[in-house]
Amino acid sequence: MAKGRRLLGWAGILLFSGAASFYGIQAQGEKEPLKAAETERPDLIKIDTLAAYQKLELPPVTFSHDKHTKALRQDKQDCTTCHLVENGKLSLDYMHRKNTRAAALKEIYHANCIRCHMEMAAAGKKTGPPDGLCRDCHNAQPQIAAARLDAGLNQVSHFRHTDPKLVPADQNGKDNCSRCHHEYDAKAKKTFYAQGKEGTCRYCHLAKEKEGVKSLEQAAHLQCVQCHLDLDKRGVKDHGPYDCAGCHGAAAQARVARKNREWVAALPNKEVPRLKRGQPDAVLITHDPKWEEDRPGKPLLMDPVAFDHQAHEKYNDNCRVCHHASMEACEKCHTLIGAKDGEFINFAQAMHSLSSRASCLGCHSGQQAAANCAGCHKYISKSCRPEDASCRQCHLLSAETAIPGGATPSQICALKPPQKTALAEALLQARNLNPGTYALEDLPETVKIKALANRFQPSEFSHRKHLAALLKGIKGNTLAEYFHRDPGAICQGCHHYSPPAKEPPRCSNCHSGENLLARESNRPALLAALHRQCMNCHADMRLEKPAATACSECHQEKKK
């Protein structure tokens, strides 16, 4: 019987464990996932310094930097409470220098953070978790998520920084470029200013620290934040931000943008002056003459492209957009057949690659995503086809260049730089930017579309109005104006897949009348072709009305 009791006991345990797991797991199963959207802060820092040394025992600490700076400011303390000062600059680390041992680090963080919290608490001030509550800081599922926007200077901000009233001029007194821009002398292990060699920080300061060159993050914070702090100390009113949200917060960036606009509006001719770095106004893009010398008797026969460097400076926020790796000319790295420096992307690819924003075509096709353009261009194949029509838009026939008597590509390629520049300027001057189209009176005012005549009355398509709308979208956009010069180019959006003509083929010439079996082609039947042409264009040009499902807006019900 005793045995039996024990067995019974076992059975009981079985059942109990079953029940226990049931409730325990039920409880666990119903854990709510945290909603990041609610509390997103730009000043969130994940403190996992120890991770570089060892496996973390507890989850990293989620640290709100601005909260702390604010609290300290109210407490009449400053950055030095937490950051040591190394040769006049605040260290980015928390109360320690480089190469501190792991054990010490741990101690530094715990001792100082907790001490401060305790003191504040003792002083009856609102503060962070005290000793003992590890998980309050080492929180595996923090309720706040980092929402840090990239900070940086755009054209306007950069130019504002060049104002000596803000940033004092340097020793040579002319300007203040040297305050930020510098080169590194590897031998002397020091930085120096090289006039006319200024580039963007990112050329040297990469995402990660490399061969002693600080990472962009370190450089930016050491340079910008320090400077802003000093300005503030010197009592300059318009010092820049030095809290996280000031640069990385959405609100602050919006504020800066507004300020920039006002600032530009206040400028003499309402636009930001060009950078003073000796860059050309116009460039005649040809092959590097060396390439032809390398292959005697085999000229490359590529017609030149006149490139409006000055205009493109306006279109882009900074030089990096095109000069992605250095301020050098493209052909320096992107050689005829490609070289290691250019990652073996040859000259042609560098100019024409659709996948890169740094290439001409890549950037231009990117522009086509704008609402004004997308209606047509989203459905026009972007792959560059070897048609004179498109190539000749940029590659002007050498023979027709302004050189008296014409010239061959090789001759143009061999011109001296100043001559090239002059030629480029001349060619740009000669360009006409008026979008040409057929005389409106030759085009139908409206078109009756009877495709759905069986169900609806024919719908009136206001042909000229649509054309006008498209032209309006082009107006003032040099890129668009230049590329829509040829008559009929603009018509291609709707009258596609057939050469431009004043009287293009009818839709029904290609689109079968009724919804037939899908066989070889992906070509829609008339019904769908018309609907999709209209609906997609309206959708892509962000025209709310008429809604795609509002039949009656385009079709009147047939009267019985």
């Binding site: 464990s17 079953g18 049931f22």
Partner: protein, 416 residues
């Protein structure tokens, strides 16, 4: 049904009769609704949940719990465990009535009841597990009917046909075991086609095996359980042999059930292992699965073992109840709780009171018929005129109310 109903009505107003009368009244009304207004009017079935209470309880549980028929007869006639002989006829009768109830329930459930034989008469969907189930149930029901006939014939006094059937007992038994194996397992195989709808913990390539093995446990437990009930209500109809052997039967079956449950437990675990579904155990469904597995398979296995070790009849009988409940739980889990688990709660199914009422109605019907037969026909006793059971030496072997009969040995017959 109506006649049965009125018959009950006519009888005296004992509480039993009143309850039964009410159940029947409700049952008849709902039946009328079902066949005039359609399934939608009486059930909570929907396009997402095409199968409900009537399949889960009446079909799945019904068939599983009627497994006593083949287990007992196999034990007695095939495995030669003669001492269970007295348990055979009650088990057969239970099984027969159980399956009949299943078929009646199907008449309610399917859209066009009169077409039930179509799969065999008109067009056979041989790829369907349901075809296999239907075929076996049909054949097995017939088998059970034949197996039950002797009792009927003895009651009516038809000597010749009765002997004829007795001769082929072994064949019938084996046929019964085959058919049962097939359709008990196929009931599980029904759900093999829905890996995407049945919760992974319950879905397994072993489903047929699970259903078959558990049906054996269910059958054995049902014999114990239903024997206990009969003891209560039909004690007067039992002869000395039955009463003497009853305890023996209970403990013997308890032992068998214990082993089978242990096997069932193990293959369930293996089923989780081979599909590597352990992680599901850490969810709500997993907990529920553990409750079923530990509380209604593991626990009864233990309790049976204890009961056997200590010759504890009471415990054995209560464990039988637990086991039966466990099988019912398993069938409900497989067909309702874990089925369509991917649906949002709003789309899930819960039976309407009318569905439950019909099930109760059918069970009651079954019980009444059982009672009717058990009172009149030699189920719990052997009609001395056909006495074939070899009594143990030196034991008084006279049923309480048959002293006047002159005992005479009946020639040994097939299967005995």
């Amino acid at each position: 049904m109506a006649t049965e109903n009125s018959a009950v009505k006519k009888s005296l107003y004992t509480p039993f009769n009143v309850v039964v009368g009410v159940i029947f009244l409700v049952g008849v009304v709902i039946t009328f609704l079902r066949f005039t207004k359609g399934l939608g009017a009486v059930t909570n079935l929907s396009d997402n949940n095409p199968w409900g209470m009537w399949i889960s309880f009446d079909l799945l549980c019904g068939v599983a719990l009627a497994a006593g028929g083949y287990t007992t007869s196999a034990a007695c006639y095939v495995f030669g465990l003669k001492r269970y002989h007295s348990a055979v006829r009650p088990a057969i009768l239970t099984a027969f009535l159980g399956y009949s109830m299943v078929v009646v329930a199907l008449l309610y459930d399917v859209g066009r009841p009169w077409r039930l034989p179509y799969p065999f008469l008109v067009q056979a969907g041989t790829t369907s597990v349901l075809f296999e189930v239907g075929l076996c149930v049909m054949l097995y029901l017939t088998t059970l009917f034949v197996e039950w006939l002797p009792a009927c014939f003895e009651w009516l006094g038809f000597q010749k046909p009765r002997d004829l059937i007795i001769r082929i007992t072994l064949a019938l038994t084996i046929l019964g075991v085959i058919l049962s194996t097939m359709h008990q397992s196929s009931l599980g195989a029904l759900y093999l086609i829905v890996p995407s709808k049945l919760h992974p913990l319950w879905y397994s390539m072993y489903l047929p095996v699970f259903f078959f093995v558990s049906s054996i446990a269910a059958g054995l437990s049902m014999v114990i359980f239903e024997g206990t009930l009969s003891h209560h209500y039909l004690h007067g109809r039992m002869d000395a042999t039955y009463l003497r052997e009853h305890d023996d039967v209970v403990l013997g079956f308890a032992k068998g059930a214990a082993m089978v449950l242990a096997l069932y437990f193990m293959i369930k675990v293996v089923g989780i292992a081979i599909d590597n579904k352990w992680n599901y155990l850490l969810t709500g469904y997993g907990a529920w699965f553990l409750v079923e597995l530990l509380g209604f398979v593991g626990l009864p296995a233990f309790l049976y073992a204890i009961a056997v070790r200590e010759q504890n009849l009471k415990l054995a009988k209560w464990t039988a109840v637990l086991t039966v409940l466990g099988i019912i739980l398993n069938r409900f889990n497989t067909s309702l709780v874990a089925f369509n688990w991917q649906l949002p709660p709003a789309d899930r199914y819960f039976p309407s009171w009318m569905e439950i009422a019909i099930s109760v109605y059918l069970v009651t019907l079954g019980l009444l018929v059982f009672r009717f037969i058990a009172i009149r026909m030699p189920i719990f006793y052997e009609d001395p005129r056909y006495r074939q059971h070899v009594p143990h030496e030196g034991e008084e072997e006279e049923g309480p109310e048959f002293t006047e009969h002159k005992l005479h040995r009946h020639p040994q017959t097939f299967g005995h």
